[in-house]
């Protein structure tokens, strides 16, 4: 790509973000807040202070794993919208088995086994949508969403009835003692889960762009009829896609528990799923791009959460910003498309 081309590419991402901040400023003004104060605060808190930056990076661990899972599915043209159910169920089962495994196995092995269990739980929760899709062609948007509601409820049932820690008053799973959680990196509060997440998303990027398996998934996603024509095993690939996607998402739940919380309380649901979907779209299902967007969003979220306490701007204002970015991205893309057409038409 020419330097000219990469500049245009950078502009195509930067312009929508700047426009979204500008439009968001109007909303802040309407709320009677000073946008400059708000933006300065959010970025100082989320990005340009050492504790804030550490929090941002820590937060990005589950988000990156979810993004990795979504990229696998979306590239294959499978709209896995059941993220929250898969995430939460995996988190709950993981938080139940981890303290027990710690008593049986060395720390590293126990953590690895807990991660594997979480991946398996996530994958198993996608089995029914996968079966319905592969066998009967049932639209996975509906089935994964419904399984997600069921998964969230089942997670609460498990916490309250099966895995409940009898020593606490609030229903929650047994707590994994801090020394046994995922190790911290150097002298920071950032845990090892971030490394796992980064490796996972880079691996996904490699698989999707450089391997036969990734190319097959992309063919299925881009033109399913061409996949049939080329003789690709459609139902096998459908199952593999669902399982891989949900397993990565399940691991996202695991690192959040093993690295940060150590336990799941009843009714805890961070609902990361619907937050990550627009980010993955912004990055156009590109793994490397997703890393940047996830970090950007995590910074906004961390900054926005404390801005909610300090400046009184609701924390879901961050979501408004993300949706504005998406909106302006579409507009910029459309204008770009129009001018490109006009240029070739001359």
């Amino acid at each position: 790509m020419s330097p000219d081309g990469s500049l245009a590419a950078a502009l195509r991402v930067a312009l929508p973000i700047l426009l979204a901040f500008a439009a968001g400023a109007l909303v802040l003004l309407a709320l009677g807040k000073n946008p400059l104060d708000y933006y300065t605060f959010v970025f100082r808190r989320g990005l340009f202070s050492w504790p804030g930056l550490q929090e941002t990076i820590t937060r990005s661990a589950p988000l990156l794993l979810i993004a990795a899972g979504l990229i696998v599915a979306f590239r294959a043209g499978i709209w896995n919208l059941g993220v929250d159910g898969q995430f939460l169920l995996a988190a709950v089962v993981c938080s139940a088995v981890a303290p027990w495994l710690i008593g049986l196995l060395p720390r590293w092995l126990a953590l690895a086994a807990s991660l594997a269990v979480a991946a398996g739980v996530g994958a198993s929760w996608s089995l029914i949508p996968a079966l319905l899709k592969a066998r009967y062609g049932v639209n996975e948007i509906i089935t994964t969403l419904m399984m997600s509601f069921l998964g969230i409820s089942l997670a609460n049932v498990l916490i309250k009835l099966v895995f409940r820690d009898p020593t606490t008053t609030v229903p929650q799973t047994p707590t994994l003692p801090v020394p046994y959680r995922l190790p911290r990196l150097f002298d920071t509060t950032i845990h090892f889960g971030v490394v796992i997440a980064l490796v996972a998303i880079l691996l996904v990027h490699f698989v999707m762009t450089r391997t036969a398996f990734g190319l097959k998934l992309r063919i299925v996603g881009a033109n399913p009829r061409a996949a049939v024509h080329a003789g690709l095993p459609m139902s096998g690939l459908t199952f593999a896609t669902f399982a891989l996607s949900a397993a990565l998402i399940g691991m996202g739940g695991a690192v959040e528990i093993l690295g940060v919380h150590g336990t799941v309380r009843a009714d805890w649901n961070p609902a990361y799923g619907l937050l990550v979907i627009p980010l993955v779209f912004l990055a156009r299902f590109n793994g490397l791009g997703s890393i940047l967007f996830v970090l950007f969003f995590a910074a906004l979220q961390i900054g926005g959460e404390s801005a909610a306490r300090r400046l009184g701007v609701p924390h879901y204002y961050v979501l408004l910003l993300v949706s504005l970015v998406l909106l302006f991205l579409a507009i910029v893309e459309y204008l770009d498309h129009l001018t490109a057409r006009r240029r070739t038409a001359v």
Binding site: A212, G214, R218, I219, A226, H229, A230, G231
Partner: protein, 524 residues
């Protein structure tokens, strides 16, 4: 013929440019009421652009259009209808699940209640005028293509059209359907409509046209007015049109034959059928989804070195036959044998291993992935196999290198091997498919409508490759709705009718008639 009155449409120096081409170059042409005006030209001659201008889908860059003597700007398709210009496009644009009369009532203003009684009266009126009989309450999807086209014509005339444009209306019809269409056009002209009949078949232009205009590379290169046309024989018209289209150049004789629509019979080579057949289908049946025609106990044998042509009206099970052979559609009953071995339950990769290749008619629909590169599409059917993949890891450098070779060898016109295949023209996408399917390993080839939508040059190129492959000993099956094509390439011709292959005959002189009869199911 009312030559004295103002023409229904007069084009004055109309020019339309697209990036890189002048699609219509200063065309001056008149269409008269009461006349069937045949517009002749190969694909890419600018016929479709001209229709686009008249139907209000595009605006000319230069020149003007006059309607009944007054300059007009046809702003939109709706505007064209308001001005009395009705268009019937090449592909049927009706809602198959709705009935005939429901389809005709579509397109009114949304706030108007549907007036069934009035619609039925109008329908009867137009049916009488055209001399056709169609049940107004039949779902359109159940009608034959010829009848669907008649419904399209009625719809185009619905609002008192004074000009009717028919874009390649015969391409989907049986010989009988073509005759019916000719009669309908005649009656329309007699009632004072200006009929514009676009075709690339000279024979039809001669049979149905009062006047013939010839387009070539966006220019009007000549016209045969009624007074000349009436006194000329078919052979004289043929010679004249070929002279107009190709000038004095003799090198284009093959293209001319395609145009005339009477390609020479293929060299009737003596095919050795004493050995075992390479491919056999025994009583093969399939399950059909709604709107498809399944196979119902189809049997055929194909020997090395021969081309078996499968004729028939579209929708008689051709698609299922092709897919069953390729291995991408399960067989409900019956057996498929390659070299005597049962391959009934083998999938696409296994059959490809045995040397069977399939060139689909849906080049972008299923043959390629439009957003992916030419290079990727060239290896679409060998993803994951060595030598282009090692342990599942893609060797992109090798793939691109081989793609560059193939692009050069097969003269695929593409900016680069990394260009998305969807950006190429139909002819070049077909070259990508041929390059992929007709490699050294291919021993059996199945072609479905191999020249559908291609221009003359690519058409003759594709037919040439089919003949060459057969001469090298390949067993070839060509499915086509163009009988002329099969007469040119096939050694034997069979007809698909309602899921069966009826009456396989040697491709000899005078075979057209019997095949044509079988296409209607008359002599099954």
């Amino acid at each position: 013929m009312t030559e004295a009155s103002a023409p229904a449409i007069a084009l004055k120096g109309v020019t339309k440019r697209f990036p890189g081409v002048v699609a219509n170059d200063a065309i001056t042409l008149e269409f008269h009421p009461g006349e069937v005006h045949a517009l002749l030209g190969e694909n890419g001659a600018g016929k479709s652009t001209l229709i686009g201008l008249l139907a209000g889908m595009q605006q000319p860059d230069a020149g003007s259009i006059e309607l009944f003597g007054t300059p007009a700007r046809i702003a939109s398709p709706r505007d064209a209808l308001d001005r009395g210009i009705g268009t019937v496009f090449q592909h049927v644009l009706l809602v198959p699940s709705l009935t005939v009369i429901e389809n005709l009532m579509l397109g009114g203003r949304w706030w108007r209640p549907l007036g069934r009684e009035a619609a039925l009266r109008r329908f009867d009126e137009l049916s009488k005028m055209l001399g056709v009989q169609i049940d107004p309450d039949a779902p359109v999807g159940r009608l034959e293509l010829g009848q669907q086209q008649q419904v399209e014509i009625i719809r185009a005339l619905w609002r008192d059209a004074k000009v009717l444009i028919l874009d390649e209306p015969t391409s989907m019809l049986t010989p009988q359907g073509v005759e019916d269409l000719g009669r309908v056009m005649r009656r329309l002209a007699q009632s004072g409509v200006a009929v514009i009949f676009i075709t690339h078949k000279l024979r039809e232009a001669y049979a149905f046209g009062d006047r013939i205009s010839v387009l070539r590379l966006g220019k009007l290169v000549g016209q045969l007015p009624p007074e000349r046309l009436r006194i000329m024989s078919e052979a004289a018209v043929t010679n004249e049109v070929i002279r107009l289209m190709f000038g004095q150049l003799r090198g284009h004789s093959e293209e001319a034959e395609t145009l005339v629509g009477r390609g020479r019979h293929g060299p009737t080579r003596a095919v050795d059928r004493s050995g075992p057949p390479r491919l056999e289908l025994v009583e093969v049946s399939t399950h059909a989804d709604a709107g498809e025609c399944a196979l119902k106990g189809l049997t055929l044998s194909l020997w090395p070195g021969e081309v078996l042509g499968v004729a028939g009206v579209d929708g008689n099970g051709q698609k299922h036959l092709a897919e069953v052979l390729a291995g991408q559609r399960p067989v409900a009953s019956g057996r498929i044998l390659i070299d005597g071995e049962d391959v009934t339950h083998e999938g696409v990769p296994e059959r490809r291993e045995r040397g069977l290749s399939y060139v689909t008619d849906e080049r972008l629909g299923e043959g390629t992935v439009g957003v992916m590169s030419v290079a990727t599409n060239l290896v679409l059917k060998e993803v994951g196999r060595p030598p282009l993949w090692r342990n599942g890891v893609t060797l992109w450098d090798r793939i691109h290198e081989r793609a560059r070779e193939q692009v050069a060898r097969h003269d695929i016109r593409t900016p680069s091997e990394r260009t998305p295949v969807g950006r190429l023209s139909g002819g070049n996408i077909q070259k990508v498919l041929l390059a992929r399917e007709l490699g050294e390993a291919a021993r059996i080839a199945v072609f479905n409508k191999p020249t559908y939508g291609l221009d003359l040059q690519n058409t003759s190129l594709a037919r040439q490759r089919i003949r060459e492959s057969a001469e090298r000993g390949m067993a070839t099956l060509v499915i086509s709705t163009e009988l002329d094509e099969l007469l040119e390439v096939a050694d034997r011709i069979g007809v698909m009718f309602q899921g069966r292959l009826v009456g396989v005959v040697e491709n000899a002189d005078e075979v057209e008639e019997s095949v044509g009869r079988m296409m209607t199911g008359a002599a099954a």
